[in-house]
Symmetry: C2
Subunit: 470 residues, 2 copies
C-alpha cells in the first residue's frame, strides 16, 4: 500500500517575516486559503490507494500539524516528533519504521511539506510510473523537467531507460553555475532534484543500513524508544541525537545502485524565496501580486502583502517585495530576496524575537496576540477554541483582568468556578490559581490586561495541563 510521508522539518527563514520559527512556511497560506502543508496532505490523500499520511515534524509544531490536518479533514497516519533536526535521511527512516510495523510491504511517497504542485494530473501519472519501479526494488526520485537554468537546485542526469517513464540515475550533480545550468537545460537529459521520492519502506531501510549504518541504527533505536503523547509519537531523544545529520541524497541516493528517476513536469515549485512565490502567483496586468489592503500607483513586477488592519501604499516602484506583518515589514529588491536569511541571522545575533514568533502566537488551545504593552502592563487578545482549555496556572509577578468580548468562558479562580459571558469581566489576583476553559461550540474571545512588575511568558506555573505541558 502507498503511504504518503510528509516531511515538515524546514524552517523557511527565507520567507521571513511571514515565516517564523514557531510557524514556518509550510504552515502558512501563501497561495490561496490553505497552507502548503494542507495542500500537500490533500494532494497525497487523493492518490489512488493512498493511506493516511505520516507527518514527521518538530515537537514545537505538533499542535499546528494536528489542527491543520483536522481543518482539512485528512486522516492522521501518525505524527512523528523529531527531538531535534537531523536532516532527511533519519526522518524518512522513522517514517519507514513506523509504516512497516503494520504493513511490511509498504511503499512510501516522500514529500516535503512546503512544495507547490500545480498540475496534479501530471504528478499522479508520475507517481503511478514510480510505483512500478519501486515495486521492482528501485528507489525512485522525481526529477522536475527544468523550465530555465536555475542555479539554486541540484540536478539529476538520467541514464538507461528502465521503463517507458523511468530511468536509472546516471549521476547527481550539485548546484551548478549559470553556464553549466544552461548546458544541462539544453541537453534535455537533466532534471531538478525535487526532494520527492517513492520506494518500498523495506528497500529504503535496507539501503540505509548498507550505506549509512549509523543513521539506520540511531533511527531504529530512537523509534523503538517511542512514547505516545496524545495524538503524537515522541521518538527517543538521546537515540535520535546520536544520528549523523545527513540528507537522503548524500546518505542513500548518491551511493545506492538502485537509484531511479521519473521525470515529471507538474508545475512544481519549492517556493524557496519571495521571488519564487511571486513567480508562481497570479499577477495583474502590471505583473504585480497584491494581497490585502494595497493601493499602488505606477508599480510594476512587485509582490506586496499587507497585514490585518493595515494598508500599504506604493508609488513608482518596480521589482520590489514588500511583506508586512504586525511587528515587522520587509522591503527588498526582488532579485535580492536570498538575503532575507541574513536579516534573520542579524535578528538571531541581536537576541531578538522577530524571527521566532509572530505577535500572534498559536497554542494548542487557541491563540494570543500582544496588542499593546507598556512599562507595567500588557494587553492580549486571547482566543480559546471550542472544547479547549488553558492550563491550570498561577503567576508570581502579575495580576490579570479578563473581559469576555465573545462566547462564554468558564473561569476557575482559586476555589470558584463560574461562567463569564460577553461584556462580563473578572479579576485574577496575583498568585491565585486560575484556568480558562471553553465548554461552548463557538470560540471564546477575551481581552486580558496584565498588570505587574514583570510580564514575561516565563512567569507561569502550570499545575495541570490537558496538552501535557505541565
Amino acid at each position: 500500500m502507498l503511504h504518503p510521508v510528509v516531511l515538515s522539518g524546514g524552517s523557511g527563514s527565507r520567507l521571513w517575516p511571514l515565516s517564523r520559527q514557531n510557524q514556518p512556511k509550510q504552515f502558512l497560506a501563501l497561495i490561496g486559503d490553505r497552507s502548503l502543508y494542507q495542500e500537500t496532505v490533500i494532494r497525497a490523500s487523493k492518490l489512488p490507494g493512498a493511506q493516511a499520511p505520516v507527518t514527521v515534524c518538530s515537537g514545537d509544531h505538533r499542535f499546528m500539524v494536528g489542527e491543520q490536518l483536522q481543518e482539512v479533514g485528512v486522516a492522521n497516519g501518525g505524527i512523528l516528533l523529531e527531538p531535534m533536526a537531523r536532516n532527511t535521511a533519519p526522518a524518512i527512516a522513522l517514517a519507514a519504521l513506523h509504516v512497516i510495523a503494520d504493513d511490511a510491504d509498504a511503499s512510501l511517497l516522500v514529500m516535503p511539506a512546503d512544495h507547490l504542485i500545480e498540475d496534479e494530473t501530471a504528478f499522479r501519472n508520475a507517481v503511478a510510473a514510480a510505483t512500478g519501479l519501486a515495486d521492482a526494488g528501485w528507489l525512485v526520485t522525481f526529477g522536475i523537467t527544468p523550465d530555465y537554468a536555475e542555479t539554486g537546485y541540484g540536478y539529476i542526469l538520467r541514464g538507461e531507460a528502465l521503463s517507458d517513464d523511468g530511468f536509472k540515475v546516471e549521476r547527481f550533480v550539485e548546484k551548478p553555475d549559470l553556464a553549466t545550468a544552461e548546458g544541462y537545460v539544453a541537453q534535455g537529459n537533466y532534471a531538478w532534484n525535487s526532494g520527492m521520492f517513492l520506494f518500498k519502506a523495506r528497500s529504503y531501510l535496507d539501503e540505509l543500513a548498507k550505506h549509512a549504518p549509523a543513521i539506520f541504527a540511531a533511527a531504529k533505536a530512537s523509534y523503538e524508544a517511542s512514547e505516545s503523547d496524545l495524538d503524537f509519537i515522541r521518538v527517543g531523544k538521546d537515540e535520535f541525537a546520536a544520528s549523523p545529520n545527513d540528507s537522503i541524497d548524500y546518505a542513500v541516493m548518491e551511493r545506492t545502485d538502485r537509484a531511479a528517476v521519473v521525470p515529471v513536469s507538474c508545475g512544481w515549485s519549492d517556493i524557496g524565496s519571495w521571488s519564487s512565490l511571486w513567480s508562481v502567483a497570479q499577477r495583474d496586468e502590471d505583473d504585480n501580486r497584491h494581497d490585502g489592503d494595497v493601493i499602488s500607483i505606477d508599480t510594476k513586477g512587485s509582490l506586496v502583502r499587507a497585514s490585518d488592519r493595515r494598508m500599504i501604499a506604493t508609488i513608482g516602484v518596480e521589482d520590489l517585495v514588500i511583506i508586512d506583518t504586525p511587528d515587522a515589514t520587509l522591503v527588498a529588491r526582488k532579485d535580492r530576496v536570498q538575503d532575507v536569511k541574513a536579516i534573520v541571522d542579524r535578528l538571531k545575533a541581536a537576541g531578538r524575537q522577530e524571527h521566532l514568533f509572530h505577535r500572534k502566537v498559536y497554542r494548542p488551545w487557541g491563540s494570543y496576540d500582544s496588542i499593546d504593552m507598556g512599562e507595567r502592563f500588557q494587553v492580549k487578545r486571547i482566543v480559546v477554541k471550542p472544547g479547549a482549555a488553558l492550563s491550570l496556572q498561577k503567576h508570581h509577578k502579575r495580576a490579570e483582568h479578563w473581559i469576555v468580548v465573545s462566547g462564554v468562558a468558564e473561569v476557575t479562580c482559586d476555589d470558584k468556578v463560574f461562567d463569564l459571558h460577553e461584556n462580563e469581566s473578572t479579576y485574577i489576583p496575583l498568585g491565585s490559581v486560575h484556568r480558562l476553559r471553553n465548554r461552548g461550540t463557538e470560540p471564546v474571545e477575551l481581552i486580558e490586561v496584565q498588570s505587574g512588575s514583570y510580564l514575561g511568558e516565563d512567569d507561569i506555573v502550570r499545575l495541570e495541563d490537558v496538552y501535557g505541558r505541565s
Copy 2:
C-alpha cells in the same frame, strides 16, 4: 513692536502617512524632538524685541496649538481660529487686526508654521534688515538665495536697491520650468519666494484695503464678530466665509508698489515632500536616513522611518522613501513622492479615514489609541493628562470596561464618584452617565474595552465638557 504671526493653515498631505488632516506636518517632530510649529515659535521668540507670537490655525487644531506652545514654554499672543481655509491674505489680515487693537504701530513677522531654518543668525540679520524697510512703509518678503534650480517654487526678481540688504521687487514669477529656473539661478538676482514677510500691520491692511477690498472687508467684519472660547479667539464664521480665497502674493504683493525683498541664505526648507525631508536630514555614510527600529542590508539614499513596536528591514534598495505608521505604510521612489497627494486623493475618494486621523487620536484631555477591534468590541489605550477630564457623557450602544494601568483616575459613574488605582477596574454600563478625570500630577493610562453592537465615535452624548465641546 515686532509681533510674530505664525500661519498654521497647511494640511501637509504630501507628508502622508505621517501627516494627517487631524495632525498635519507642522505639528510633527520630523527633525529632532520638537514639531516644526514649536521650532517656529521658539525661533520667533528669540528675535530681539519680539512679542508673544500670534497663531492663525484651524479650529480643529486649537488644542494641539495650545499644548505645543505650553510644552516649549512660549507665551501665547493669541490663537485665532479660522472657521474655514481662505488662504493667506485673509489669515494675515485677522492677525494684523488682532495686533493693532493693542499696538497701533505694530510690525508683523509672518512665518508659515511648517518651515525649517537652519541658520538662525542669518535669519535674524535678515529680519533686522527687513525691519528697517518695514518702518519706511515697505512690505518686505524674504527671498531665499537659491541653491539649485528648483521648479517647485515661485521666484522673485529684485530691482533697485533700497538699502544695503534690501531691494525693490521687480517682478514675481510663477514656478518656472527647469531651463528657466537654471537661468534664474545663473543670473543671481532671483530668489525663491519663501512665504515669509515683514511689514507694519497698518501698511498691510492699507494695501489690502486698496488692492483686495473684499478680503479686507470680510476679515474686518469677521474679526469684529470674534468671540473668545477658553484661550482661543473664534472669528465670525459667516463673515469670514464671505472672503475671497486668495494668497497674500496674489492679493497684495504682486499688486502693491511697496513690495520689497530681503535676500537671505539661512538653510531654509519648506519640507514640502519626503524627499526634501531626506535632503535636509543628517544621513549615514550610505546616504540613508533611518529613524526608529530599522535593519538595512545594501540600502542607499533612502529615508526609512519605523513606527513604535514595529521594525523595518530593507535589502538591496536604493532611493526609496519608506514611512511606517500604525495603520499605513508608504513605499515610494524618492523622486516620485509628489504623488503622495494622489494616494491621499484616492483615500478621500474611497471615503476612508487614513488621511484624516492617526490610529492614535489627540484630544484636549490627552489621547486615545484604538489598539484592537472586533465585530462587537474595541480596545483603546487612553491617556489622561494631569488635571484633565473627559466630558461627562453617555453612550446608547456600548458598555465600557476600564482598567487603570498607571496613575490614579477619578471615575464618575451615575451618582457615584470614586478613585481607581493601578491594577483596579470598573464597569460603565450602557446608558450610564460617566466621566474620567485625572486630579493627580502624573498621566493616567487606562485600557478601555468597549462592548456593544455599535462602536463609532459618534455614539457619544456630551452632557458637560470643560473644553466647550458639549
